[in-house]
Amino acid sequence: MGKSEDSEKKKKMKDVEISVPIVYGNAAFWLGKKASEYQSHKWTVYVRGATNEDLSVVVKRAVFQLHSSFNNPTRIVESAPFELTESGWGEFEIAITLFFHNYVCEKPLNLYHHLKLYPEDESGPMSTKKPVVVESYDEVVFTEPSESFLARVQNHPAVTFPRLPAGFTLPPPVPQDESKRKRGDTKDHPLSQWFLNFSEADELLQLAAARQQVQTHIAKLRRQISLTDGQNQPFKSL
């Protein structure tokens, strides 16, 4: 491949990005009768694929940085599902650092989640059966993905694969030994019944409607402006 071809390729790949939709948050159960002063809740903080697919194709490990009052506040999780369960009484900010595989990206990414234990409605009863769940949806975007990255994740359900520029072909993926690795997806996770659903459709609809209104208003204003200009013109020519 000549140098110009390489740079041509690079130019086309400039806008190619791979995005991984994730959901991160916590689920907290009140311990009820078993609650003590310092351990009133049992909570799990986690990062999962937005469609509950296995993130370990992209994420190598997740590091959860807890409040300093915890023993060993830096908890490292080396495999999916990337989650951590603890018990405590306080709400605090947890810093989650995602480390990716070498072929994905060398830089880690930080997420911040405020641990929620107590329900929004303070007057309501606390239940040991129904957890307090707070989740945030986001997408991890990788720019200028390497060919090995693209090859590795094509057809993987956890990843939003981009449309490649015309004429671009990928090498066939290296077959992975699926049987040996344990399941990393969260489809049958014990907490999955509490997971929230994130659908972009509602938000898109809302945004489209809002844009429509604004655009109509803009058109109206433009007409009024030209009208006023017309009225002011005779004065201006003085």
Partner: protein, 452 residues
């Protein structure tokens, strides 16, 4: 018609003479204690708020129980390796001279020049351009002159440039360090190993510096012009190529660099700019430039969260807007029942959100424009600029009408949003007809103002 008459100022310069009279009075008031007259004048003839010197302390005498004499005594310094006997004045208290090393000996620092053994030289350090004798001499001089290479170059027996000497010294030291270290990891942090001396870069850098230094004034001006021109071309090029490579490396080269470097890229940019086709309608190139530079910086990150990207893009889009405008945008979003930060930030949602924010900004700008034009119009019609309260009231009313108009349309839109979408035939017309009947009770007031 004297200007002073209009302003109501006294014709005779009374004030000036008054000033002259008061000044000599102030000058004679110069009796501060403890500070000399000159120092007082330095502060502008005004006493400082806090006394800088405590006056009572100025004439303090040493405690009377101690007997102080000054004696001319010999001393030794640990910094000297010879036996030179020096003398100096020493403050002797009660007949006891002070003890301890010479107080300035601690400043006698020197560089730790690494010396190699002959064995090490044979093993690692032979070089076709350097004899062992020369290298030995170099190291002797380095130790003697504390790595002051200008002096070393001056004293070096054979003619060598400073860069050559530095190169030899640093590469030898580095090789020795690495060779002596038990494992490469241990020395990796040592500055000699971490940042090796780059001869060619140094030569180039010094040449460039001397070129800049020896520029004439005329050349300096010409270079500034070329730099400005190149910057402009680079920016418009970035705007034109928003979708393609923004070519940041060239732009940064143009930055603070030497004269001749700037001419090179400047030349290459202009021909290539001509070839780039004119971009499609861009409302303002500065906004596009902002966007493309944000995109470029995001690309540099390699990995980022989409919410972060949206934040950056929103900031870039609102960079020209003031704080109040941004608040108004957010208020409008809330009125439209749109989340300020999308709950499901997918690529599509973020793009729509950004576009919506931009459209709201346009909307607010247009409203302001309309207000301004209407105020202009009403001031024309009223006929005199002096009628301030009247036109102010008018423009205020117009502003109020605008606000209620906006809220009215939006809240109306909120109710009927779904229905409107079903009914829509063409974008503009249908909504006009559907909104006019309901808004009728507010509309007539607005029409009156514009119908005048």
């Amino acid at each position: 018609m004297d200007a002073k008459d209009i302003l109501g100022l006294p014709k005779t310069p009374l004030s000036i003479t008054q000033e002259k009279k008061s000044r000599p009075q102030k000058d004679s008031q110069r009796k501060p204690d403890g500070i000399s007259r000159e120092v007082y004048a330095l502060t502008g003839g005004v006493a400082p708020l806090m006394p800088s010197i405590d006056v009572s302390q100025l004439k303090r005498r040493p405690p009377s129980d101690e007997k102080i004499t000054w004696q001319w005594l010999p001393f030794t310094s640990s910094a000297r390796k010879d036996n030179l006997q020096l003398y100096h004045w020493v403050r002797v208290v009660n007949g006891v001279p002070p003890t301890g090393d010479y107080s300035f000996a601690k400043y006698n620092k020197s560089v730790d020049v690494i010396r190699y053994t002959d064995e090490e030289y044979e093993k690692h350090l032979t070089d076709p351009k350097w004899t062992k004798e020369e290298t030995d001499q170099l190291f002797d001089l380095c130790e003697r002159f504390d790595l002051r290479f200008i002096i070393i170059a001056d004293r070096f027996p054979t003619p060598r440039t400073v860069e050559e000497l530095k190169d030899r010294y640093y590469s030898v030291s580095r090789t020795i360090l690495v060779a002596r270290a038990p494992s490469p990891g241990e020395v990796a942090g040592h500055p000699l190993v971490k940042e090796p001396y780059n001869v060619t870069q140094e030569i180039e850098r010094k040449r460039a510096l001397s070129m800049v230094l020896s520029q004439t004034k005329h050349q300096e001006r010409k270079d500034a012009e070329v730099l400005a021109e190149a910057k402009r071309i680079a920016e418009s090029r970035m705007a034109a190529r928003a979708a393609e490579e923004p070519d940041l490396p060239i732009a940064s080269d143009i930055g603070p660099e030497s004269a001749e470097r700037a001419v090179g890229p400047g030349d290459t940019i202009s021909p290539s700019n001509v070839q780039v086709p004119a971009p499609a309608a861009a409302p303002s190139t500065s906004v596009i430039a902002d966007n493309s530079s944000t995109l470029a910086s995001l690309r540099m990150l390699r990995v980022y969260l989409r919410t972060y990207a949206l934040e950056q893009m929103v900031q870039a889009a609102s960079s020209s807007a003031g704080l109040r405008t941004i608040k108004r945008v957010e208020q409008t979003l809330q009125d439209l029942e749109v989340n300020l930060k999308p709950k499901v930030p997918t690529k599509a949602v973020c793009a729509e959100h950004l576009e919506l924010r931009k459209e709201i900004l346009t909307l607010l700008n247009l409203q302001k424009q309309l207000q301004y034009k209407e105020a202009e119009g009403s001031s024309f019609r009223d006929g005199s600029y002096g009628d301030m309260p009247g036109s102010a009231k008018r423009s205020q009313r117009a502003a109020d009408q605008d606000r209620t108009f906006v809220l009215d349309t939006i809240s109306f839109g909120g109710d009927r949003g779904v229905k409107r979408e079903q009914k829509r035939k063409g974008p503009g017309r249908a909504s006009e007809t559907s909104s006019s009947p309901a808004g009728a009770h507010k509309r007539p007031r607005k029409m009156k103002a514009s119908d005048l």
